[in-house]
C-alpha cells in the first residue's frame, strides 16, 4: 500500500508539489498523469527517496521513506524513466548485483534470475554486456531487476519509452500479473491509452496539485462527455 500524506515539495520559493494526499491500496494499478513540469517526477523522486519532502509523509507498505528509508526501499521496485546500467556488466551479472542489493539469498536468487530471464524473454542477450543492448532490451532488464525481490510496491516512470510492441506487451502483462498478486503499482505516464488500458484509477496533477482523481469506471463515464476521448478530457482538465 502507498500512502502520501500532505506531501509538499518546495525549491526555494517555487512549490513543485503542493499538499498531495493519496492512498493506493494493495492490488491497485494507479496511473499518474499530468503535463510536463506538473510535479509527477518530483513526486516519484520523493517516493523513492531521491528528494526529501518539504513537509508531509510517505508510507510504502507501512514504512516511512523519511524515517526508515532502508525498510521502505526494500519494498519498492522502482523503474526510472532514464535508468542506469553498469554497461560493462552482463545482464545476468546485473541481475545478481541487483538481487544482492536487496539481500536475496544466493540459491533463491539463482531461481529468481532464471525466472526473470524467461519471463522477460532476455534469451541469449543475458550473457552479453549491457553496453550492447538496445533501449528496449535495457528496459526489459531494468524491469526484471526491479521485480527480483518481489516488491510490494512498484513505482514506474514512463514504462513504455523505447519499447517495441513485443517488449511493451511483455511488460504490460507482467505488470498486470503483479497487480493481481496484490502489488500496488504507481505509474507515471504521458501515454493516455496505456494508462486507460492498465490502470484501475487515474489521477491528474497540474502545477503540483491533484486536479482529478477518478476510478477507471468514473473516467469512462467522464470521457463520454468528451466524444469518448480521454485525450480531450485530459486537455480540458490541464488547460
Amino acid at each position: 500500500m502507498i500512502k502520501l500524506k500532505n506531501l509538499t515539495k518546495k525549491f526555494g520559493s517555487f512549490t513543485a508539489v503542493n499538499n498531495i494526499n493519496l492512498e493506493i491500496p494493495s492490488g491497485q494499478f494507479f496511473g499518474f498523469l499530468g503535463p510536463n513540469g506538473a510535479g509527477k517526477t518530483t513526486t516519484i523522486k520523493m517516493m523513492t527517496g531521491l528528494y526529501e519532502p518539504t513537509s508531509g509523509e510517505i508510507f510504502l507498505n507501512g514504512s516511512s521513506i523519511k524515517t526508515d528509508p532502508i525498510a521502505a526501499k526494500k519494498k519498492i521496485g522502482y523503474i526510472p524513466d532514464h535508468p542506469f546500467l553498469y554497461d560493462k556488466l552482463t545482464g545476468r551479472e546485473y541481475l545478481f548485483f541487483s538481487g544482492g542489493l536487496f539481500k536475496i539469498p544466493k540459491d533463491e536468487l539463482e531461481i529468481k534470475v532464471e525466472g526473470a530471464i524467461k519471463l522477460f524473454e532476455l534469451g541469449s542477450w543475458i550473457d552479453k554486456r549491457s553496453e550492447n543492448y538496445s533501449q528496449g532490451m535495457s528496459q526489459r532488464l531494468i524491469i526484471a531487476s526491479s521485480m527480483l525481490h518481489d516488491p510490494k510496491v512498484i513505482i514506474i516512470d514512463e514504462p513504455m519509452v523505447g519499447l517495441d510492441p513485443r517488449s511493451a506487451s511483455i511488460v504490460k502483462n507482467v505488470l498486470k500479473e503483479k497487480c493481481k498478486t496484490g502489488v500496488a503499482i504507481f505509474m507515471s505516464t504521458h501515454i493516455l491509452h496505456v494508462a486507460e488500458e492498465l490502470c484501475d484509477r487515474i489521477a491528474i496533477i497540474k502545477d503540483g496539485e491533484i486536479i482529478s482523481d477518478l476510478t477507471i469506471e468514473e473516467l469512462l463515464d467522464s470521457k463520454n462527455k468528451y466524444d469518448g476521448k480521454l485525450e480531450n478530457l485530459f486537455l480540458d482538465l490541464t488547460n
Binding site: 525549491f11 526555494g12 517555487f14 523513492t48 527517496g49 531521491l50 528528494y51 526529501e52 528509508p69 532502508i70 525498510a71 526501499k73 526494500k74 519498492i76 522502482y78 526510472p80 532514464h82 535508468p83 542506469f84 553498469y86 554497461d87 560493462k88 556488466l89 551479472e93 545478481f96 548485483f97 541487483s98 544482492g100 542489493l101 536487496f102 539481500k103 554486456r129 553496453e131
Partner: protein, 561 residues
C-alpha cells in the same frame, strides 16, 4: 559490510573488464598505450635519478636542502591532488547517475558514500600513482635502497599521503556545500579560489626558498647536517614534510627517526578516514539534497537569459551556431568555468612569482637549467589546461551527437570549430605566461622572442594533440568533462603531450645554454642560430600538428559512419 563488499565486487568486475578489440587499430591503440606508459615511467625514473644526481654532485646542495626542495614539491603535489579531488568529488559524489540508482535501493547512505569515495580516489589517481611509482624508483635507485624500501614507501607513505589529501578534499567539499547553502555558491567559489591561491602564496612566503638556500649554503658543504633551526615550526604539521623527513632519515639510516614520520602519516590517514566516515554518515545524504537545490536554482536563473543565438555576427551561419553552442555549453557548466577560473588564477600566481625571479647566477649552465625548468613548467601548465578543457570537447557531445550527424554540416567544419573555440584562448594564455616568465629578461629581446614564438607553437600543437586524442579515444558514454579528462585515453594523451614537451626542451635547452654562454662571455649572440632554431621548431611542431589533425579527423569520420 557485506553490502559494501557486494557493491565493490561488482564495481571492480565492471571496471576491470577490458574490451577485447582485435582489430588492427585496437591492437595499435593498446600497444601504443603500453609503450607510452612504459616510456613515461622510464622517463620519470631517469629524470628523478638525474635531478638528484645533479643537485647532489653538481650543484652540491646537500641532503638537507635536497629534502627541503622535495618537501616543497610535495606541497604543490598535495595541493594539486586536493584541488583535483574537490572538483572530481563533486562530480562523483553529487552528479553521478550511479548515485541516483543506488539511492533508490535499500543501501545505507554511508556505504554509497564510501564506495564513491574509493571510486573517486582510485579513478582520479591512477596516473599520479604511476608518476609516484616511477619517482620513488628513481629516488630509491639513486640511493641504492633495498627492495623493501620501495614497498614501504608505496604502501605506508605514498598511499597515506595521497589519501590524506583526498580525504581533506571531501571534508572541505562537505564544508563548502554547507556554507553554500547559507550564503550561496558564488561567494563559496570565490573563497575556495582565494584559499588555494593564499595557501600556496603563504607557504612559499614563510618557507622563503631563496633565503633558505642562501642560509644553508653558508654552512654546506663544510657542515653537512640536519639544520633544524631552518625548519619553520608550522611545517612540522604538514604531511609533505613528514614524507620528505621519512625519506631523509631512511636514506641516512636512522630508521627509528624515519618510522616516526611514517607512523604520523598512517595515523593521520586513519584518523581522517574515520572522521570522514562519521561525517559522511551524518552529512552525505543531507549535503546531496542541498546540492540538488543548487542545480534547481541554476536552471531557473538561466531561463531568464537573452538568447544569444538571435544576435547577428559576421560569422557564417553554421560556424556562428556551433561557436555559440560551445560557448554556452562551457560557461553554463560550473564544473567547467569554475575549474578554468581556478587554473587561470594559479597560472597568474605562477606568472607573477616567476616574473620576480632573479637569475643572477655565475654559471651559465645553472642559469639555463633554471630558465628551462620555468619554460617547461609554463608548457606543462598549458598541457594541463589542454587535457582538461580540449581533450573532452569531442566526447562531451555524447548524446547530442545525433543533431550534428543529421545536420547538413561537414565533419571537418565541426572539428575545426571545436579547435577554433579553444585555440585562441590557450595561445593567448601561453603568450601571457611566456611574457611573465621572461620578465627578468625583458632587455634580452631575442630570448623573449624565441620563448614566446616557441610557446605559441607548443600551445598550438598541444591543442591539436588533445583534440585529435579526444577524437581518437572518444568516449560517448561519459558526459562529465572532468571524468572524460581522467580516462585512460586522456592519460595517454597527457603522457604524449609530455613527450612532446621533452622534445621541445631538448631544442630549447641547446639554444638557451649557448645564449647564456655568449652572454657571460660578453659576446654578441649570432641571430642566425635563433632564426634557424625557430624555423626548425616551427616546422617540426607544424608537422606534428598536421599529423595529429588528420588522425583526429579520420577518427571522427569513422565514428560518424
Amino acid at each position: 559490510m557485506r553490502e559494501f563488499i557486494h557493491i565493490l565486487w561488482y564495481k571492480l568486475k565492471s571496471n576491470l573488464k577490458l574490451t577485447v578489440d582485435l582489430s588492427l587499430q585496437g591492437i595499435i591503440k593498446n600497444l601504443g598505450s603500453v609503450v607510452l606508459y612504459g616510456a613515461f615511467a622510464v622517463g620519470a625514473y631517469v629524470l628523478t635519478y638525474n635531478i638528484i644526481e645533479y643537485l647532489l654532485k653538481e650543484a652540491k646542495v646537500g641532503m638537507f636542502l635536497l629534502h627541503r626542495f622535495l618537501s616543497m614539491l610535495l606541497f604543490v603535489f598535495f595541493v594539486t591532488v586536493n584541488l583535483g579531488n574537490v572538483i572530481v568529488s563533486y562530480s562523483t559524489l553529487y552528479k553521478s547517475k550511479e548515485i541516483l540508482y543506488l539511492f533508490t535501493k535499500p543501501v545505507s547512505f554511508v556505504n554509497i558514500f564510501m564506495i564513491k569515495f574509493l571510486d573517486n580516489f582510485f579513478y582520479s589517481s591512477t596516473t599520479l600513482f604511476l608518476i609516484g611509482l616511477a619517482v620513488i624508483a628513481g629516488y630509491g635507485s639513486y640511493f641504492s635502497m633495498p627492495l623493501g624500501f620501495y614497498f614501504t614507501v608505496l604502501i605506508f607513505i605514498f598511499i597515506p599521503f595521497m589519501l590524506i589529501s583526498a580525504i581533506l578534499a571531501v571534508l572541505l567539499l562537505f564544508l563548502l556545500i554547507k556554507i553554500a547553502s547559507h550564503i550561496g555558491v558564488a561567494p563559496v567559489i570565490a573563497g575556495l579560489i582565494t584559499g588555494y591561491v593564499g595557501s600556496i602564496f603563504f607557504y612559499f612566503k614563510f618557507i622563503n626558498p631563496y633565503k633558505l638556500v642562501n642560509e644553508i649554503m653558508q654552512y654546506f658543504p663544510h657542515t653537512d647536517q640536519y639544520f633544524e633551526i631552518f625548519v619553520p615550526a608550522f611545517l612540522k604539521y604538514l604531511p609533505n614534510h613528514w614524507v620528505s623527513e621519512f625519506l631523509y632519515w631512511t636514506v641516512k639510516g636512522n630508521y627509528v627517526g624515519a618510522s616516526f614520520y611514517g607512523l604520523m602519516l598512517i595515523a593521520t590517514a586513519l584518523f581522517l578516514f574515520l572522521i570522514m566516515f562519521l561525517v559522511g554518515r551524518m552529512y552525505y545524504r543531507k549535503s546531496w539534497l542541498v546540492s540538488l537545490e543548487f542545480r534547481f536554482f541554476k536552471r531557473k536563473q538561466i531561463q531568464n537569459k537573452n538568447v544569444i543565438f538571435q544576435k547577428n555576427t559576421i560569422l557564417q551561419c553554421q560556424t556562428d551556431a556551433l561557436l555559440k553552442k560551445e560557448f554556452l555549453q562551457f560557461f553554463r557548466d560550473p564544473s567547467q568555468w569554475l575549474h578554468l577560473v581556478v587554473l587561470v588564477l594559479l597560472m597568474l600566481v605562477f606568472g607573477v612569482s616567476v616574473s620576480r625571479f632573479e637569475y643572477n647566477y655565475e654559471q651559465p649552465f645553472l642559469q639555463s637549467v633554471t630558465y628551462i625548468v620555468i619554460y617547461l613548467f609554463t608548457a606543462f601548465l598549458i598541457a594541463s589546461m589542454a587535457i582538461r578543457f580540449v581533450y573532452p570537447l569531442i566526447s562531451i557531445e555524447a548524446s547530442s551527437f545525433w543533431k550534428i550527424k543529421s545536420s547538413p554540416l561537414s565533419i571537418q567544419k565541426f572539428y575545426n570549430t571545436k579547435i577554433v573555440f579553444v585555440f585562441i584562448p590557450i595561445i593567448l594564455l601561453g603568450i601571457i605566461l611566456s611574457i611573465f616568465s621572461n620578465w627578468s629578461f625583458r632587455e634580452e629581446q631575442y630570448l623573449l622572442f624565441f620563448s614566446t614564438y616557441t610557446i605559441i607553437f607548443v600551445a598550438a600543437a598541444l591543442v591539436i594533440i588533445n583534440i585529435s586524442g579526444g577524437s581518437f579515444f572518444a568516449s560517448f558514454n561519459e558526459k562529465n568533462p572532468i571524468r572524460i579528462a581522467s580516462t585512460q585515453g586522456a592519460s595517454l594523451i597527457f603522457l604524449l603531450s609530455l613527450v612532446f614537451l621533452v622534445f621541445t626542451a631538448i631544442i630549447i635547452s641547446s639554444i638557451v645554454l649557448r645564449y647564456f654562454e655568449y652572454s657571460h662571455a660578453n659576446k654578441i649572440f649570432p641571430h642566425s642560430i635563433i632564426i634557424n632554431a625557430s624555423l626548425a621548431f616551427g616546422g617540426i611542431s607544424l608537422v606534428i600538428s598536421i599529423i595529429c589533425y588528420i588522425v583526429g579527423l579520420k577518427s571522427l569520420n569513422r565514428d560518424f559512419k
